[in-house]
Subunit: 346 residues, 2 copies
């Protein structure tokens, strides 16, 4: 198609600033005859304070109709913890069945890793996005008293695990090293863990050329800082994926560079692309935020829409920019965006 119908949710804090640069680069990389029809939705803390709503049904219905969603960041100290996260971000992931939460970690030339200059980091985490402890399936009894009991239920289904494991195997098969590591905690969370392990082993039979490995989540964090080169593709549950992808971002040069895709592979619902970083209210509005993660999220969006060539050009622009950063001095959010837009256009 010659047009992309894009929903934009800038969200809170630095979300607005970084999304603007993402859109700038998107406009610059596409051929002149490809139109980007963007519709912006003002969701997040402002809407919540104005109306008490986090994601009105009418907005959800409109979003559903778009080709993809670009999201900035969600969260503000003025809103109680959990309200926007669950009422907006997780609601979108669940409503649109974003079961493949894709988070690449790659140490680009020129970027400093806390693990030093010799670290080899090039892997992708396939985080399950619609199950596990994220289902909101908990409660509390005698709330607010000294006898309170609070529970959180991790829900895991064969159906939900199989589809994400299969997706991860296919991704591993398409990469040169063809290695897939399952990360779980099957020696303690035995019911969920055995289900993940059983399905992982069953699906492996369909991908005989993919090397498989298993690590407990605690051990995985060790290897991430001692032998990150051992990872190629990782598949894991929603909560473990949340934790290890922040760690992965940190070793690969920081959360300011980490992109993610919340993917609905069937295309039944629009997929959503967002930087892994948060809304960083302390630096919001000052032009200090690094828009790189948002721009790399745009690259993932392009790839998802089948525009592989443009996706590669955006990535190449980012890598070229990162390689020169040490010599470039401090730049504002929009200066970085301008530089990237110029690179992809040129």
């Amino acid at each position: 198609s010659r047009s992309i119908r894009l929903a934009v949710v800038p969200g809170d804090g630095i979300g607005q600033e970084v999304v603007a640069e993402g859109l700038k680069v998107l406009g610059a990389v596409l051929p002149a005859d490809v139109k980007v029809e963007t519709t912006e939705y003002d969701l997040g803390a402002r809407l919540y304070h104005r109306t008490g709503e986090t994601l009105p049904d009418s907005v959800l219905a409109e979003l559903r109709d778009r080709d993809a969603i670009l999201l900035g960041a969600i969260g503000d100290p003025s809103v109680p913890s959990g309200v926007l996260e669950r009422g907006l971000l997780l609601k979108l992931r669940f409503a649109f069945d974003h079961h493949v939460n894709l988070r690449p970690a790659r140490l680009a030339p020129g970027v400093v890793s806390p693990l030093g200059p010799d670290a080899k980091i090039d892997f992708v985490v396939v985080r399950e996005g619609t199950e596990g402890p994220y289902t909101g399936n908990g409660g509390s009894l005698r709330t607010g008293t000294e006898h309170e009991v609070a529970t959180e239920v991790s829900v895991n289904t064969a159906f939900g695990i199989e589809r994400v494991v299969r997706d991860a195997f296919a991704r591993a098969q398409a990469r040169p090293r063809k290695k897939l590591t399952l990360v779980h905690k099957n020696n303690v969370l035995v019911h969920a863990g055995h289900l993940w392990t059983r399905i992982f082993q069953a699906v492996a039979a369909d991908f005989p050329d993919v090397t498989t490995d298993y690590l407990h989540v605690d051990a995985a964090t060790i290897f991430m800082v001692t032998q990150p080169e051992r990872f190629d593709v990782i598949v894991t549950d929603n909560l473990f994926g949340d934790i290890i992808t922040d760690l992965a971002a940190a070793i690969a040069g920081g959360i300011g560079l980490a992109a993610s895709g919340n993917i609905n592979p069937s295309g039944e619902f629009p997929s959503m692309f967002e930087p892994v970083h948060g809304s960083a209210p302390d630096i919001a509005g000052q032009g200090k935020a690094d828009p790189t993660a948002a721009v790399l999220s745009v690259a993932m969006l392009l790839e998802h829409l089948g525009r592989t060539e443009e996706a590669r050009r955006v990535e190449a622009a980012v890598y070229a920019d990162l390689a020169e950063r040490a010599t470039l001095g401090a730049r504002t959010t929009s200066q970085i965006g301008d530089a990237l837009a110029a690179r992809v256009a040129g």
Copy 2:
């Protein structure tokens, strides 16, 4: 008392070897008139294969009567994942109400951190040990079919959280920096998270000189590799504590150096001390295992029994040994134990 009645559970793999060195150092550091009465219990894979049992009631009753327990490591590939972990290790922690799982992380001079020579790492994690997702409170439906649903329930009580949070505040207050960080995921696991947060804030009022902080578990893993100096004492739930203490061990020089105490502060039941590392079956029986974590666990045991002076001497011996390692060449498990025993005795 002039005698210590110690239960020893060497367990599987390298457990036997490292515990032997721990006992060697314990014998060497104590004055001649202090008797250590050790009783060894052969629990783990061997017992399981022989009898199908993991922790016979009669053994549990005997253990209960001891001053403390020294444990090597549990786990063997010949036993299905989870059987020994839940039937033995976790059963001990729960039966003896080890609600304070204490895990110090300190980068000793001479030890190489993956974060480089300038990393400043000196914190202690107080991991809750008897609640959260470790309660074994899960199940599965339509097990083994394509319609399987598996759940894991995290159980959190005001009672259980308050006692461990209070313990952590007291530990923070006793340290020079007096800072306590709560690690949870209260924006997603809102019921458990809000309970932890509410109690943390309430107990903080009793410790006005302790600085408090909150981090989501994902963000905590980032700071652990980018700003480990920001941590002094951390308090967290059972599963998050499992994950971040392996990461903490990795940045502080490796799991071979990490000690832990499973503490029952009231003294109603014996506390249990164990290296954080596993049974490492691949190197078992070859004299390759580093007994340092087991020896440091003995130091924690001495401290718990009120033998602070001896605890400090064991630690000092370990630090002196670590500082010289680069010049010492390869040593076997028992050579390291001999060297440490000689240092504490001399």
